[in-house]
């Protein structure tokens, strides 16, 4: 059994089949790309995998565990973390606090401990700060720790989202257009970071991206969606040469 098994998952809104019979096999540690034209249903797949939508049919297994139909919070606790296409940070909070929210379920103390400032509060907060800084340093955000998240430039906001997702200690990381709005330099840096995160944290990553350089550069395999249907999948280099894929992207 593969690490990630998505079997014929699908959802329709009214008469519109947003995603139909999507399937995917992903091994542990694999970097997998999900591509397709605008409106193909890529983000809908993410929403199905993170419990934002409940699938009409199909099943989803992660590491042998059935994840189908669970709530967003449960799925996060079971090891699925994501970033968002339209950045969703906690804008009025500092960069450090954004990551510490990601650590919420790993470092625990009761609300009363926090109010009474018991010793456990201090020790846990210190451990949280250390862990958060570790993640921020990986994504090169350490210097901005005390900035408000909404004051960060675009590229850094995207990286902060990745740091926050990483903080929830996921087994499976879903990145929704991580390089959108970045210049070529930033994208190159991001590619290195994603690779580092995969190798260093032993992460399995599924990413949506329009930047073909990024996809070709770091993804071992890709799936192509078009009109909610799986067009083809396989080794990146082979898929990107496929005439069907080129047709879907560029038209005839």
């Amino acid at each position: 059994m593969s690490f990630v098994e998505i079997n014929n998952i699908g959802i329709s809104f009214g008469g519109l089949h947003a995603v139909e019979d999507f399937y995917l096999r992903q091994e542990k540690g694999e970097l997998y790309g999900l591509i397709g034209p605008n409106g193909a249903g890529k983000t809908t797949v993410f929403n199905l995998l993170t419990g934002v939508y409940k699938p009409d049919k199909g099943t989803f297994f992660l590491d042998g565990q059935n994840m189908t139909g669970k709530s967003t919070v449960e799925l996060n606790k079971l090891g699925i973390a994501r970033t968002f296409q339209n950045i969703r940070l906690f804008g009025n909070m500092t960069v450090l606090d954004n990551v510490k929210i990601g650590l919420h379920n790993q470092y625990r103390y009761s609300a009363l401990t926090g109010v009474l400032r018991l010793p456990k509060y201090r020790s846990t907060e210190r451990a949280m700060n250390e862990k958060a800084m570790e993640l921020l340093d990986v994504l090169e955000l350490g210097e901005e720790r005390d900035h408000l998240a909404s004051n960060l430039p675009y590229g850094k906001q995207r990286r902060l989202e990745i740091a926050r997702a990483m903080a929830t200690n996921p087994k499976y990381l879903l990145l929704d257009e991580p390089a959108a709005g970045m210049n070529p330099n930033e994208t190159a840096e991001l590619m290195q970071m994603i690779r580092f995160v995969r190798d260093h944290f032993d992460m399995t990553i599924l990413l949506i991206e329009h930047d073909m350089k990024l996809v070709a550069g770091i993804c071992e395999k890709v799936s192509v969606l078009d009109f909610g249907q799986l067009l083809c999948q396989g080794e990146t280099s082979a898929v990107l040469k496929d005439p069907e894929v080129i047709k879907a992207y560029l038209g005839e």
Binding site: T72, L89, F90, N92, I101, R108, T113, V115
Partner: protein, 375 residues
Amino acid sequence: MSERKNSERAKGFSLLKIVPSKSRGKLVTVLIPVVFFAVCALLVNLGVLRSHFAGLLVPLCYYIIMAVSLNFTVGILGELSLGHAGFMCIGAYVGGLFTLLTQDSITSAWIRFPIAILLGGLIAALAGFLIGVPILRLRGDYLAIVTLAFGEIVRNLVQNIYLSRDKAGLHFSFTNAIEPERLDPATNVDIMKGPMALNGISPDATLLISVILVVITIIVILNMVDSRAGRAIMSIRDNRIAAESTGINITKYKLIVFSLSAFFAGIAGVLFAHYSTVSPPKFDYNMSILILVFVVLGGVGNIRGSIIATAILYILPEVLRGFQSYRMLIYAIVLIVMMLLNNNERFNAWKKNTTERLTAWRKGLFRKKSGKEAE
């Protein structure tokens, strides 16, 4: 279309200035009311301030508690609540009735009053929890309407309760006064008489106890904000969807906020009941709006701002009493000026600048001192 409307609404609400809380300056926030009340008490004792002014200090305490606890819901959780007076009403009646019923058996106010405070707070918190459950799915305007209705329901319920005590025990009636033939005329004491005021509660709310409660409220809420739970609550305010997918249990934290906020409003109510006369019309929506005005003008999410704004806006109309007919005019002008200043970038920049300069100056002073010691 409805989505666009929603986003517009969200935008409108975010225009209210949401100030990020910082752990620094927490001590200052606690010290401001302590020093203020200490100085006021001293001046009153010395005879500098009129005794009329002394009478404003305890009410100021419970209004500060109200404003700070409402700011917890509005500024930290980011949900507009228009029924805060309802929780105060519950606290006032629970605490007040407890004292009325027990002041013959428990004669020491030092034992009786803390129990009344705790009881009033807990019952109000329970009400906050119960109202919190059905409105979990509501947000924005819808939540505001339901909380407004809640406040009015509480007031109207209380307004219709008749309660009497005689040698046979307690007599209770709803909507109508209790028939005299049911009561023993010799020993009968009316406790609650519908819309009429609750009489005979011993005035236990001293300034000392009130200030202690203010300090407790501020410390609990500031510590809560600057902790694991507080971060989770603010994450819900900033982005609910992201909070959920980061594993934050929204239901749990919303209920914590509603209950805690109601708890402190209940305590403020108990203070109210033990200081001035309690009658249902005092807890109408005007009270809720008044508290909301304190919160908004002090800065949504800014606890220290709530304290200062409450002090200014509560004392001002009383100080202006000498001006008689111009009183409310000046009050209105102050409200408008505060609103304008709060949204003025140049004023905020000036404020920030001054604070930074003050901090730098203080640091420089400290450095000089420690430098001398090193020599």
